[in-house]
Every structure is written in structure tokens, then in C-alpha cells.
């Protein structure tokens, strides 16, 4: 357990809140005036998935949870979670659905992901900067190079997720998506 201050907060960090493990989803600085500064924080419970807001005094001490990253392969969904396997040790862990959230849209069987482990519990996945997936359903439309116009069309990816891409992207192409926003980045 490392003691940090609100000045060290980063989105996605894991901290103890009311003695329970939580993840910082969002935070912003608030100045009610007369010298005091605060940090309004949205925290997600790793146990219940419930998100609540708490406003810390700026500079308050907070316990950061020790979290390890393990590279693991996605196997399959099971019950209320998703099963991943460590390729070296063959250890398997289940990450609860509510801690994977929307990222499941971009998860591909047998692909490798950074799984976050806290005290032997799998608590989430570290979002990669980009995911590379194939476009499996795309309607034809738009001239090549038409990004300046900014027009987008909906396509379906191999995972079943629907995303908006520039008009020139065709069925069968590999593209890169930013998993945090679900938006198109580039051809892959």
C-alpha cells in the first residue's frame, strides 16, 4: 500500500476508499474560494461496480492499491466474467463483467491483454492505446481520401462492435480503434 496525495491522481488509478478497493474514473479540481481547493472524484467500486462521487481536500493522503499487470490471453466468457490465461504458467483468472465494462466490445478470443491483478483478484484490463480489428460488414460509399469532409459511416467489426469510420474504409480492411472513446484512429 503506497500513500499518495490527490496531486498524484491519474485516471484509471486504483485506490482504497472507505477501506474498499476502487478505481478512479474521473477527477476534477474545484475551488469554492478562500484558499481551499478540492478534488471532486468519481470512484468505481471493484466489488459492486457502483460509481460514487467523493470530494477530497486537495493534498489529502490516499492509499494507492498495489496492482500488478499480467499479460494474459482471452479465452471465453463464463457466467458473470471473462476468463483469461497466463501463457507461461497456464494460470487462469476470471475478470468480472462489470470491471471490463465496454471494452468487451473490442476483445478478440486468443488475443493478449494486460490484466490487472490486486491481491490475487483480477480487477480489470489496462486499455491498450489502440486495438486492431477487421471490418466485417461495411457498405460501399464515398471516394477514396475523403477524410477532409469528415463524413463517417457505421461498420461492424469482427467482434460484433459497431463503430463510425471514414467513408473510404472497405469490408475486409484492418483498422485501429481507440478503445477509450470507440473512435477510428487509422488503417492498421
Amino acid at each position: 500500500m503506497a500513500t499518495i496525495s490527490t496531486a498524484d491522481f491519474k485516471k484509471g488509478m486504483f485506490v482504497a476508499f472507505k477501506n474498499e478497493p476502487h478505481q478512479i474514473m474521473e477527477f476534477q479540481h474545484v475551488n469554492p474560494g478562500k484558499g481551499s481547493a478540492f478534488v471532486r472524484t468519481r470512484l468505481k467500486s471493484l466489488k459492486t461496480g457502483k460509481v460514487q462521487e467523493f470530494t477530497y481536500k486537495s493534498g489529502e493522503s490516499v492509499e494507492e492499491l498495489p496492482v500488478e499487470t499480467h499479460e494474459m490471453q482471452y479465452l471465453y466468457p463464463q457466467g458473470e466474467g471473462y476468463v483469461f490465461m497466463d501463457n507461461r504458467t497456464y494460470d487462469q483468472v476470471t475478470v468480472p463483467k462489470l470491471l471490463i465494462g465496454d471494452f468487451v466490445r473490442f476483445m478478440k478470443e486468443n488475443d493478449t491483454y494486460q490484466i490487472l491483478i490486486h491481491e490475487e483478484d483480477a480487477i480489470g484490463v489496462r486499455l491498450p492505446k489502440k486495438v486492431r480489428l477487421m471490418v466485417t460488414v461495411a457498405n460501399e460509399g464515398g471516394a477514396r481520401g475523403n477524410t477532409v469532409g469528415g463524413a463517417l459511416k457505421a461498420v461492424t467489426l469482427e467482434t460484433g462492435a459497431e463503430v463510425n469510420v471514414p467513408l473510404f474504409i472497405k469490408q475486409g480492411e484492418m483498422i485501429a480503434i481507440d478503445p477509450e472513446t470507440g473512435s477510428y484512429v487509422e488503417r492498421a
Binding site: K18, K34, G35, S36, S61
Partner: protein
């Protein structure tokens, strides 16, 4: 994608952005009906009012020979309006841009923002509460929505009187704290610790008070109906007139609709000695915090010495008003050119 690109791609979005001009026109008609004078105040100023919780934008004024002088961008039209009140302008208002640095990465802040301030001379701050109820209803009805205001799937009946609650009653109602007891800092520490907040010996009374206010009271303001919360403890409203029948509290109120903090009103302090003392205290704090330093506006103190009429004044975030009436959750959606569009991350 920049906002202008989004608008080109999706012309249906214009309607949302055109709400701003309708809100501002409605504001002007509201004040014109009441015979307030509209004042343009300088954005480029020589000396900001000293406020330690703000960060000022600093720039350089060059004369014809390029001799430099430090200059600043205005954080509020308050000081020029007060000087004009000393000069005898009477009731007045200003719709202008104000600048507050570091105020980014928030759904309700943009470092350059539009502020409305209006002042009534020889009038109690309670009249300004009535103004708030009236101008919100006026804008809503000019926009064609009658007495029903809808924001993020919540409906508000503007024909009903707003909730008016004192800070003392709010502490009792939502935080179950006796604010009079809480004035004693030792008791305040115990109360906060019992509630599970981290308390250290260096925490100021204002920090303890604000932590309860932000966590346990603010979430309830303006949620079911528009709320006016009034009579703040004197130390968090240092430049407001103290209440004559209870000097622990000051004549200050804020109003919230749908959880949005929209306005902050003071029964104005007119004593030049207290104002100067406050400026000096704030400058010490600004240095301590390592923020951009400056000298305060001495001309303002001279004006107060000449005698400012008793007045009440309020500042309202116009961009937040636009958020409310355009039904958007992010201030950037009210601006054609929000700060994010202009500066790369």
C-alpha cells in the same frame, strides 16, 4: 473533430448553438425593461482585484516605443461597475468575457467565459433573489417553453416558487450538523472525523466546512426544484455585508438549477478599510501559493473612500445558462470555439 467541422457535417447541431444568442437577447430585454444601464467594462486591465482562489492571465502592454508594462485580463466586471456606482450610475449590468487561468478540463469551466453581473443600488439582496426567479422564467418563456424547463430528462415547473434554504438549515437538513456548533473548530474537527473525513491539525475551518458542503449539501441543490441557498458563514463570504441580526453570517446567496451552480450574489460590503485589508491578505496567499502576483487596484479603494451606495450584486455564468436552456451537459457544447479546439493537448 473541431466544432466547426461537426457543424458542417451535421447541420442539425446549429439549433443547439443558436440558443446562446437567444439567451443573451432575452437577458438584454429583461434588463432594458427594468431600465438598467448596460456597461462595457475593460478586458485589458492594469490591476486585478486580489483573489487567491483565481489564477489571472498576464500579458504585456507596449507603448509606441515598445516600452513594456505588465497588464492582465479581467476576471470579473465587478470593480469597474462599482466605480461607476460610486460615480452615480444607479442600477447597471454587464455581459462580458472574463478570464480565469487553469480553469480547464471541467464540464462547467472554460478559461475564457461569458459572465453577466448586475447590481441594484439601495436594494436588499432578497430583491436579487426575485430577479433570478424572474429572469429564468423570462428566458424560458422567450424561448417558447412557457413555464416548463427541461434539462437532461428532468422537468422543472418555473411557475412554482423556488426552494429557498439558509446554509444553516441546509447543514441541519442534509448533513445533520448544527452549524452553530460547527463554528467551534475543535467541534468541527470531531464532527468531520466522525463522518469519516480525513482531518489534520493544519486543516483550516474553511476546508472542513467546504468538505461537508461539497460532499453532503451541494449534491442536493437545485435537483428537484431550483434552489437558492443563502446566508453563508462570514468567513466564506468576507466581502458581503454581515447580517445585522446575526453577524456570524453574511448576506450572500447562490442559486442552482438541475445541479448547475448558476449565480453568486452578495449584499455588497462598502467599507474601504475592510476591502483593502482583504486585498492585502489575499496577496500574501497568492504569493504563498506560487500564483501569478500583481498589485491590487488602488483606484478602487479610492472610489470606495468616496462612498459607494449600498448595493447588492450578482454574477451569473452565461455559458452555464446556455447549457441549461440548450440542454447540454458540457460547456464546450455551448461554444463555437471551446479552449480544447484552439490548443492542442
Amino acid at each position: 473533430m473541431k466544432t466547426w467541422q461537426k457543424l458542417k457535417q451535421n447541420p442539425a447541431l446549429w439549433k443547439q448553438y443558436f440558443i446562446r444568442e437567444q439567451v443573451i437577447k432575452a437577458l438584454r430585454s429583461f434588463f432594458d425593461e427594468r431600465k438598467f444601464h448596460e456597461v462595457e467594462t475593460p478586458i485589458l486591465i492594469g490591476n486585478p482585484p486580489a483573489e487567491s482562489y483565481l489564477d489571472v492571465f498576464e500579458t504585456t502592454l507596449l507603448d509606441r516605443h515598445r516600452n513594456p508594462k505588465k497588464a492582465y485580463l479581467s476576471t470579473s466586471p465587478e470593480i469597474p461597475l462599482k466605480k461607476l456606482m460610486v460615480a452615480g450610475i444607479g442600477n447597471c449590468y454587464s455581459i462580458t468575457k472574463s478570464f480565469r487561468n487553469t480553469e480547464m478540463q471541467s464540464h462547467t469551466h472554460n478559461p475564457e467565459f461569458t459572465i453577466l453581473e448586475w447590481y441594484r443600488t439601495q436594494t436588499a439582496y432578497t430583491k436579487i433573489m426575485d430577479d433570478c426567479e424572474a429572469f429564468i422564467l423570462h428566458i424560458n418563456s422567450v424561448l417558447g417553453h412557457g413555464t416548463t424547463l427541461t434539462y437532461q430528462d428532468k422537468s422543472f415547473d418555473l411557475s412554482k416558487k423556488w426552494q429557498r434554504i439558509s446554509v444553516k438549515d441546509a447543514f441541519k437538513k442534509w448533513a445533520r450538523v448544527d452549524l452553530i456548533e460547527f463554528f467551534d473548530i475543535k467541534k468541527a474537527r470531531k464532527i468531520c472525523a466522525k463522518k469519516g473525513y480525513a482531518v489534520t491539525a493544519t486543516n483550516t475551518w474553511e476546508e472542513l466546512y467546504n468538505q461537508i458542503y461539497l460532499n453532503e449539501i451541494e449534491p442536493y441543490l437545485g435537483v428537484d426544484q431550483p434552489t437558492i441557498i443563502y446566508d453563508f458563514p462570514g468567513s466564506v463570504a468576507a466581502l458581503a455585508r454581515k447580517k445585522p441580526n446575526d453577524t456570524r453570517f453574511a448576506e450572500r446567496f447562490e442559486f442552482y438549477i438541475a445541479g448547475l451552480e448558476l449565480g453568486d450574489c452578495y449584499g455588497e460590503l462598502t467599507d474601504w478599510k475592510e476591502q483593502e485589508e482583504r486585498f492585502n491578505t489575499e496577496l500574501v496567499e497568492i504569493k504563498r501559493l506560487g500564483k501569478t502576483t500583481y498589485d491590487y487596484d488602488h483606484d478602487f479603494i479610492s472610489a470606495l473612500k468616496e462612498g459607494m451606495p449600498e448595493a447588492s450584486g450578482i454574477a451569473v455564468g452565461v455559458d452555464r445558462l446556455v447549457m441549461l436552456f440548450a440542454d447540454v451537459a458540457n460547456i464546450a457544447e455551448t461554444l463555437f470555439f471551446p479552449v480544447e479546439d484552439q490548443f492542442e493537448k
